[in-house]
Symmetry: C2
Subunit: 449 residues, 2 copies
């Protein structure tokens, strides 16, 4: 028979079993963290009618959308989770209770040019809080706390959540007389990290025609070291938008410590703007301290209108998104997967040493009943092959069940790490193994050096 | 602004938050059950190169595949998980250890005609064990035990796993002289449940030209009541294939009880054939006793060659698949979702009664630290609206934090089910709530009446 060459599409992450365990563990940790803050899980379709996904329209994103058709319907694969959320909330408005807190962790699709570390199919992990007509700033204060808990639960230590407020920036620009160019100025200020002070100065002066004074004020404002409220307070009382944003930033700073985020892990950074036009208040960007070249690994913010394409209802919200596939790719590239995490498919491999397998079968059932992931090696192979099966899969315990053991009502357990071998009653050894396995299971998937 | 009507494609299940919790719980239970048997999780791409998905080729399925193209690559969405597994094993052969036990729970796509209870996007939950050159029958014996544990963990009680062996059927047909028509006869026998004895007799006689004797022997064989080995043993020693299948069935029956499946929940049923051509040994079908019209909710079997399209390696396997979306749809249609399961997004809602939210924030942090899913109600609404928020979302506990409580270092908790209200130290009440919440969490998602 003519053979087909097996292949996986480029830009599609397909993990080997060990790495899949790390990835799944990370997803589970995120779910647990999100749940602690009252977010409910959603799982929306990956495919939507094209007009739904293209509602926002235009731009680079639209070119990247995978479209297809079946019968007379034009279909598209989602390229983010927010569009699906907007549709969901508009469609189910009367059946939801607001503020509506949901998380969704799912695959999205972008037909980007394939390159290392860029994915066409990737997981996003999103949380959003949607209000009906209004949404208190307390919700915005909680978001950094969720981010902090999420990354800590993954095992990450060295990261910082940068926080700013678009109202503060927009108000400030109005105050210094560049209010007519807010969007352009914002877009350039957002590049400060990448292009540096000199190039930003040039761009603001030459491209946007700002005066030297204006440029100086902007640079003093966005690069201010020390307490940001020193510079914020200088401009208070001159612009309503500015003051309202400043109050929000102050409220967030007040609550963030109470919510458990240490000073080391957040920073009010007046240079953060976020490229997207639709943020209207607080914005967030999270960076890995040791890998700044990676860019923001989690970002988002406050928006005024989630579902304006579908409904006149005023649905303000705040949300963030974590690009999990890319984050995982980076962490494993950097060698940060915690090697002491148990990635084996089983905790115990039972190797029967008699032709009659009935004792092995009963033992496996008992071990599973007590929560141990147990496999019986039933293949007719040499003893060495059987033991090397456990070795290759890094199964931590092997049980030998021979005639002697069966006669004495005992089992022999080999600890594959230490090589130590113990013969005793099965209930005793099951308890002992369970304890050690629970310890192995409790580790975080990531370990920063 | 012109509004777009929000809609979800027909044939795509999109659940309201409460139902999503049931569904997610079911998925989690399956993952736990699969893991206990040493199956490792995989998560393969939903999209493949078209030539990979169409390798099997032909038939009804091909017409249902969603295809698309991007650049110069023809792409397709997977319509089952086995094709992806075959590609994965062929591609990663040298990096895997065999027998390779994997599970995958993921979405698949079929462009079927939309009708009630039929889905175009749906979850399959698959387990497979792949051997390299051979695979012991013990693996086949374990499969019903996995099925049993899965459904029990969901809360299902009234189901039966029917087991047969294709070698027994094929060998039997050879013995009675209809060996040349095995596939046709199998296909008809497989319909016995649907068409009944009379129509099967007609079909075998008229359409396939079997003699009256042959038809009688077939019917006696496949409809035998009582111990199936009574009728199996009558034919032993006359056909190698038959004897080998009979030995396998006997081995499975021997181990299945030891593996924890009670007699009430499995049945060797010589009429089960499975439509698919590629099963070569044991076959399984699982039925809900009270909903036979639903058909098999979990089926599969032993096959000789997983990845013949890609490799000359001999990779026999055994596997089953559960159509989770359809199963969930049926269970909720039948009113079998366990109402005592906690579907609220949070365990506790904190309602601050003071303008200063700092105490509420600290309390929320403490509750989350102790594992309670906690939300602070921060919106500026009337008291009644705040309490009704908890009511609508069925959040079981509400905490009131007023000046009195803050001064006394206490909190007031209202049990929303009983209406009972208690004021005490927070640590005491957190412990008490945690205990009750753990009890609420332990219930199975399904409850059969």
């Amino acid at each position: 028979m003519e053979k087909i060459k097996p292949r996986t599409l480029s830009g599609f992450m397909e993990l080997l079993p060990g790495h899949q365990v790390y990835f799944d563990t990370m997803i589970r940790k995120l779910r647990e963290s999100f749940a602690l803050y009252g977010f409910t899980p959603l799982d929306t379709p990956l495919m939507e009618a094209a007009e739904i996904l293209l509602a926002k329209g235009g731009g680079e994103t639209e070119k990247q959308i995978y479209t297809l058709s079946k019968g007379d319907t034009d279909l598209a694969l989602r390229y983010e989770l927010t569009t699906s959320l907007a549709k969901y909330v508009a469609l189910n408005y009367s059946r939801l209770t607001f503020p509506f807190r949901r998380y969704e962790i799912g695959k999205v699709y972008r037909g980007e040019r394939a390159q290392r570390g860029r994915f066409r199919e990737f997981y996003q992990a999103d949380i959003d809080i949607i209000g009906d007509g209004g949404l208190d700033v307390l919700n915005e204060a909680e978001i950094p706390s969720v981010i902090y808990r999420c990354f800590k639960s993954l095992g990450l230590e060295r990261f910082v959540i940068r926080i700013n407020n678009r109202k503060v920036l927009s108000g400030f620009f109005e105050i210094i007389g560049v209010g007519g160019k807010v969007t352009d100025v914002l877009r350039m200020v957002d590049k400060l990290d990448k292009i540096g002070v000199t190039k930003l100065t040039e761009a603001l002066t030459n491209d946007l025609g700002l005066t030297n004074n204006q440029v100086t004020e902007i640079l003093d404002f966005v690069t201010h070291k020390g307490d940001p409220f020193e510079v914020i307070d200088k401009y208070r009382g001159r612009n309503e938008l500015f003051d309202s944003g400043a109050d929000e930033l102050a409220a967030i700073r007040q609550h963030i410590t109470g919510l458990g985020v240490p000073d080391t892990h957040f920073k009010i950074d007046l240079a953060i703007a976020r490229g997207l036009d639709y943020y209207t208040g607080t914005v967030y960007e999270t960076y890995l301290l040791d890998h700044p070249q990676v860019g923001a690994i989690c970002s988002g913010g406050r928006y005024d209108n989630l579902a304006g394409y579908y409904t006149d209802k005023n649905l303000p919200g705040v949300g963030i998104s974590i690009g999990m596939t890319r984050l995982f790719y980076i962490l494993q590239e950097q060698g940060l997967l915690n090697e002491s995490v148990l990635t084996a498919p089983a905790d115990v491999l039972i190797i029967p040493m008699t032709d009659d397998l009935s004792h092995a079968v009963l033992l496996a059932a008992a071990m599973r009943e007590s929560g141990l992931r147990t496999q019986i090696y039933g293949e007719n192979k040499k003893f060495k092959v059987k033991v090397s099966y456990a070795d290759k899969l890094e199964i931590p315990y092997v049980v030998f069940l021979g005639e002697d053991e069966i006669l004495e009502g005992k089992i022999t357990v080999k600890d594959m790490t230490s090589g130590e071998q113990t013969t005793a009653e099965s209930s005793l050894l099951i308890a002992r193994i369970s304890e050690k396995i629970n310890a192995l299971r409790s580790g975080a998937p990531i370990k920063e050096v």
